[in-house]
Amino acid sequence: MTMAPPADDMLLRVKGLTKHFTLHGDIYSKLAGEKTQVLKAVDGIDFHIQRGETLGLVGESGCGKSTTARLVTRLIEPTAGEVTLKGEDLLGFSRSRMKEARKEVQLVFQDPYSSLNPRKTIMHILSRPMEIHGLVRSWAEKRERVLELLRRVGLGIEHIDRYPHEFSGGQRQRIAIARALSVDPELVIGDEPVSALDVSIQAQILNLFRELQKEFGLTYLFIAHDLSVIRHISDRVAVMYVGKIVETGPAAALFDKPLHPYTKALLAAVPEADPAKPAPRLTLQGEVSTPIDPPPGCRLCGRCPRESAVCAEIAPPLVDVGDGRQVACHNL
């Protein structure tokens, strides 16, 4: 085990975080004779984020990255595990402490078309968080702060009384970011914040994220499935597959020399916008493994080019391999 960074530098720390969903466990299904199954959306993951850094969480659909975002903010309650925010046990927070924590950790969602309430004006959407946490005293102060936020994210102040449907996807995402900033958070979790945007707009929003990080000293947990985006924005990266973290490490090192077979497969499959670079190819066989009642052993079992007997029996733990990198594989 490596020496964890000093406690005050570590903003978020997650250990053994787990979320299992029971399927067909209700009385109607039981009466119908359906077997109860367990969907292990997130199955014992560990990671940490230091103050000021950007951790990129990458994986394909169904790997559990979005669920992780919700677990860490307690929008969904974890089945097991520890979440430590600034040294305090987040899962043990009282209701009032949790409410305060909602100021410190904020989310930016994927779909700009549904993450803003279509019936409320921008003024309301941006001032509501401040209202909830009692951060402003008068209407005038609210107004000033909202105008300030709009300016910060690059939107004209004349937009303040408009409704979300009057804006484009990129603009809405800026509003969503402004909403997250309205309570002066320390950690911002982006759940695929640029996936629904056009490439040229995506670039604008990514730049905005960077600028805001520098200006406000923010820490990011950036979730995406697009590897180039993750590479661009992250300091460190964690790769998830079917509920487990298979590899972590500094972005440059991980992308230049991936260690885990799944990371290698992901990188090989990405088509790069350059005909001179190699064509995308798949190094894994078969389909994505299922998170429902998964067999013991490594999740990649059955698809992996480096498989051996032990892989089907024992799930490989995430171990340190030096240089700040961790891998979960028996056969390196």
């Binding site: 919700r70 929008l75 909602r102 994927q110 993450s115 969503a176």
Partner: protein, 314 residues
Amino acid sequence: MTEIQADKLAELQAVRAPALGGRLIRWRTALGNAWHELRKSRTASIGAVMLVLLFGACIATPWITTYDPIKQNYRERLQPPSEKHLLGTDRMGRDIYTRLLYGGRRLVAIALLAVTFGLSVGIPYGVLSGYFGGKVDTVAMRFIDGLLAFPGLLFYLLVVTLAREWKIEGIANDAVLVFALGFAFMPEVARLSRGTVLAEKQKEYVEASRAVGDGSLSIALRQILPNIISPLIVNATVRLGYVILIVAALSFLGLGTPPPTPDWGSDLAAARDYMETAPLIAAFPGLAICYTVLAFNLFGDGLRDILDPRLAER
């Protein structure tokens, strides 16, 4: 400067304006938008015009009628329409035009109150049940299912009979009607709101509100409710016409409004005896009922067309 420029300037001014000024401007533009939207559907426009006439007549009744709707005047009974009596007189010599207007006024008031009552109980019931889900939702909805299973007509008969038994009269009688009609409307509203809340609950802005620290009650009633109100409004509008029909029907059967209070239904019933000699006495209350129900239906239908495609557009 053009209207658009004036609006833009007003908007910019509102950016720094104190609360009241900004809100007024928003209301004015909202109303302007509503009028513009209304014009898009011919059905809605026609219905709206009909309703405006109806409501106008109801409000202006004391000023546009000259006769007493209740006082009998046997000397002038069963008169055909003339200069003196616009629509003629009924079997007791009362001016039909006056009776129609006073009757309409009462019916519309009852309908509005009943529907409002149904909405104010049904909406919170359905919304909270849908939002909180789980066992609360299951129990609440089974109760609604039970209410819906009860035949409407029997319920009204029950209520009316009880009212008779307990000798409830006058305004109290009307209140009983309002309660009965509202209560019968409530389960439908609850079901509808719950259904839409279930779908709306999954949307990201609801999650975002939770992430920001908003409380459940606040989210359910302040954030979600404005988004699901459209189908409810359409439903309520059509229901208004239907309620009037029910009251008229009950009165027609002799169960709703006791005479001599003007009521289209009881007037229609009373006119049955005179179908051969003075058919117009039946025609006018009948036409009034048709007109009113049609007006509400057209407006409700048109409203649905206006509200739905906009939702689909996004």
